[in-house]
Every structure is written in C-alpha cells, then in structure tokens.
Amino acid sequence: MNRALMAAGLSSLVVLLLALPLIMPLAKLDISLGVTVLLFGLAAASVNLLVGYTRIMAFGNAAFFGLGAYGAALFVQYVMPNFLLAIVVGSIAGLLGALVLAPFLIRRRGIYFALLTIAFGQVFYFIAYRMTKITGGEDGMTVTRPALRLGSWSLGSHETSFYYFVLVVFLLVMLGLWYVIHSPFGRTLVAIGQNEVRVRYLGLNSDRFIFHALGISGLIAGIAGALYAMSIEFAYPLLLDWHQSGDFVMMVILGGSGTFWGPLLGSAIYAIGQNVLSSWTHAWQIIIGGLFVACVLLFPRGILGLSMRPRADIAREDEVYEPSAAPSAAAKAEAP
C-alpha cells in the first residue's frame, strides 16, 4: 500500500473515532458500545501480538483482561476509589499475571502452548468464581466509577467524556504498540513467527523474546480490562473464561491476523454485530458463528489481510504444515 493511501486511511479512522459519539446515535447505539469496541480492540491487539506477529497460539488472554478488570475493581472496592490508580493497578495485575505464567508457557509451542494458556486461564476463572466473599463470585462485583480528577481538572461523569478518555488511552497504547512492532524487538518477533529455528540458529534466544512479548501482551490486556470494568462498572468471572479468549482470537482472525488495525476492525464487527443482531433475532449466535466459519475457510487472513498483497518472498508457515512428517529439527532444538 502506498504512503498516501495509508495516511488517508489513518486520518479517516481517527476522524471516525473522534466523531463516534455523534455517529453512534444515528444507528441507535449508545456510546458505551464504542468504548467496548475500543477496549476489546486493545485486548484483541494484545492477542494479535502473539497470534498474528509471533505466531504462537495464545488462547488465554482473557485471563489478563479479567485480571485487569478485577484488579481495578478490587482496588476501588477495598483500597481507595481513585480512578487513575485503579487503572494502574489493573494494568499491573495483567502484566504480573503474564509474568507469572510466562516461565511455564515459553517452554512449549504449538497446540501445547495453546492448551497451557487455556488451562492457566481457567485457573484464574475458577479463583474468581470461588472467592465469593471477595470477588462476589458468580454475582460479580460492582465498581462504582470514581471521578477522574487531575489536580483541579475533572472528567465529567458523562459517558461521552469517558469515551474520549478511553480513546486517548487507546491511541497512546496503539502508538506504543506501533513502536514495539517496528523496533528490532518487534521485528525479531515477526522473524520468530516465520521461522523460529532460523532465529535460534542466528544465536537469538527466542524464549526470551516470547517471554517479553507475553509481558507486553498481558500489560495491554490488563489496561483494557481495567478500563472495561470502569466502563460497565462491573466485574464478573466470564471476563476470564476461555470463551472470552476465543472471542478475542476470533476478532483478530476476522479483522486480519498480523495486520496492525485488524484487531480493531474485528472488535468492531464482533461487538457491534453482536449488539445489533441480538436486537433483531434469536439466531444471532448462528450468524456470528457462520461469519467466523466463512472467515476461516474463505479469507483466513482476515478482512484487512485481503487488501494485503500476498508476500511471495516469505513462505507462510501456516501453509506448509505437515502433521505426519518426521519430528522436526525445531522440536529437537527445544526438547529439554
């Protein structure tokens, strides 16, 4: 894509996002749905870093998202009702969750990695579900959104003001993510995604790179989760469940795995689609599932991936999978 087109696309996106509080009511949608799209978009971006760029099957990011939500919720409820600190605490909770799990996760790849992410994610889910006295368990946890104050300036309690705050955070995080992906670190992640063995033969410790990628992913998901708990003023265990992780992966695939704005697009399609469709028919889950099946079969590179010219110079690993080939050198290289 040439630069002019990219710049035009980016500016129209920014204008669209800025004007969203005016556009959504035209479709009879509340702006809080826009907040959801942005925050799920961030969560999907955290998944995209792993699934899209590094090509590891991360199915447990809802755990970090949920840790962010509960971190913020517990902080407001039991420590102090401070908006900014709650977000910080939630984000750190997501980061810590990833750092605790990463030493275990980096030791495996492929389907084993995916299963480990699901397993550990479920552990957090059960903890949230079980500790009824602290987290409210199945009944969830109310989070009364504290007013956001910075010195003498205060963000109004209006939902639109909250949306703009989230938009600012979203753009900042995406900016940070842009730098990460285009840094040498990020390029190494992409290289790992294409051929991890080659990267290791070049002398780089791919485990360490994946470790840091998990940390960044957990942090971003934690930020998204903390803000989400503030948005709906509620935290509940389903946010940690692996079906939620599956939804985030779905958004990445729909929008375009490995593209920068794919996660946001996928989040928009999923969240808005679900919201609008469920107002019209009981069968909305069939439609969403059908869309997803069609996507996986017909355009697995996602919607944004369609617009990308297939890069003939780089062999795509996902198209050269041989299940019954002899054990690969990669497996031997990483066997303990």
């Binding site: 699934v51 090509r55 099957m57 275990f104 030791r107 495996r108 790849r109 492929g110 389907i111 084993y112 995916a114 299963l115 480990l116 397993a119 550990f120 479920q122 552990v123 059960f126 079980r130 599956g246 992966v249 779905m250 695939i253 009981h282 069968a283 889950q285 069939i286 969403i288 599932g289 059908g290 997803f292 099946v293 996986v296 079969l297 697995p300 690993e317 996902d318 198209e319 050269v320 999978y321 041989e322 299940p323 019954s324 002899a326 054990p327 690969s328 990669a330 497996a331 031997k332 990483e334 066997a335």
Partner: protein
Amino acid sequence: MLEHLLPEIINGIVLGAFFAIVAIGLSLIMNLTGTINMAHGSFMTLAGYVAFVLVSRGTNFWYALVVAALLTMVVGILTERLLVSRLYGRLPIYSLLLTFGLSLIAEETYRLIWGPTGVPFSPPSYLLGAVPVFNAPLPSYRLVIVAALLVAMAALVLFLFKSSLGLRLRAAVQDSEMLAALGTNTRVVYTANFAIGILLAGVAGVFAAGLLGLNPTMGNELLMPAFITVVIGGMGSLTGSIVGGLLLGIAVSVTTLYVPAASELVLYLLMAVVLLIRPRGLFGEEGIFG
C-alpha cells in the same frame, strides 16, 4: 472416609471410560491430519438428540443408539468433506477456530430446535436399577456404559489391526506421502479416520445423554476433560487415551471425595504438570506438535 474410596474409584473408572472414548476419537482426528476438533462435543450432543427423537417415537434404545451414531457419523463425513478438509496442511489453529465456530452454530441450532433447557432422555427402564458393589449401589446403567465402551474400543482395535482400511490408517499416520505414493487414495483414508472419530463420539453421546441429561451444551462439558486426557495420555497413542482417561476419571472422583473445591481444577493442574514435565504425555510420541 475410606469406605467411600472403593466405590469412588469405581465411579472414577466409569467417568474415565467416557473420557477415554471421547479422547480416542479426538486423538485419531488430531493425529492424522492435525485437526483440533472443538466441535467433537457438538457431534456427541447431536447423537443424543437424534436418539431422543427416535426413542420418543417408540424406538428401542439400542436401535436408536446404532442409528443415532451412524447418522452422526454421516454428518461428520459431510463436515469433513465440505469444511474440515479444506484446512489440511494449515496450522492447527485454523481447524481449531473453524470447529469452534461450528460448535457455536450447532449449540444455537440445538437451542432453536429443541429448546434451551434440555429434553427428557432416559435409558430403558430395565437399566435404571442399581447393583450393589462393595456395599455401595452402582447404577446398572453405568456398568452397561463401561461394558459398551469396552466393546467399542475392542472393535476399534480389531478394525485398526485386522482390516485393510485400518492398516492404511495406521500407515497414513506414519507417512501419508509415502502411502499416497504407493497408490492409496489418502483422501478416503482421511475421511474414514474422521468418520471413525465421530462414530465413537456418537456412541459416547447417546450414553452421556442418558447419564448427564440432554441439553444443547452437554457435549461441550465433556470436551475439555477429553482434550486433557489426550494431552496426558499422549497424542497419537490409543493406549495413552485409555490409560489417561482412567487416570483422570479416578483423579477427579477421588478429589471430589476429599477436596471437592479442587475437583475442577485438578484436571487443569494435572495437564499443566504433564505438559511441563513430559509434554508428549505418558505414551505419546515426541515432536508431533512441538
């Protein structure tokens, strides 16, 4: 508490038999084509509903079992031919996502057709009693399930080791390229493999419906434990699935007895431990999935 232990272990064996048969199906499918079938539970549920429809029209339970399993297998074959086979050669994540989407569609379809709260489905009345085993009543239905699953496993082993299609299946797992070069239509082998996995799921599904209650999410509840069984037992190993299933079933039952709060977690923790210490599982082969 110790007098409860023995009947508990027997319960665990019954549970384990379920895990095993579902795991074998999953493992067969995963092993040959790298397909992770998240819709396996949906096939089980489908078989349950088909059997329900037949039985409510007056059909005999066993007849309904056979027909339901076969019909479900046909649906499985169609699914494989039309959808799943297009993803052969790709990373397993795509088959995982495809079948995940299919399971969502299936669940909602069942809900729309048969309602969200489940339908009454019972084994025949002569199976509803209990047999005293070591001073604890063991429901006869469960004994029948274990017997039936043993029969199914024996039939599978016979098929794999005594029939020519079974021979080709085992050959395909080792090296399907070579098999194709030797003149076998590997597409037929892949389809047959998938079909057998679904057939087993269908049988398990009808029995599970009688035991657990038939509702749109019935099969999905057994899916996670079955995946964990495959991981623990070892992918690509039938023995592993059986042993892993029994182990897991007993672990769950015994944990339920002593530490009920941990009985859901024990599945996941066991899997995590196995994955970290011996990722190929108890009987698995190294390097198939990294």
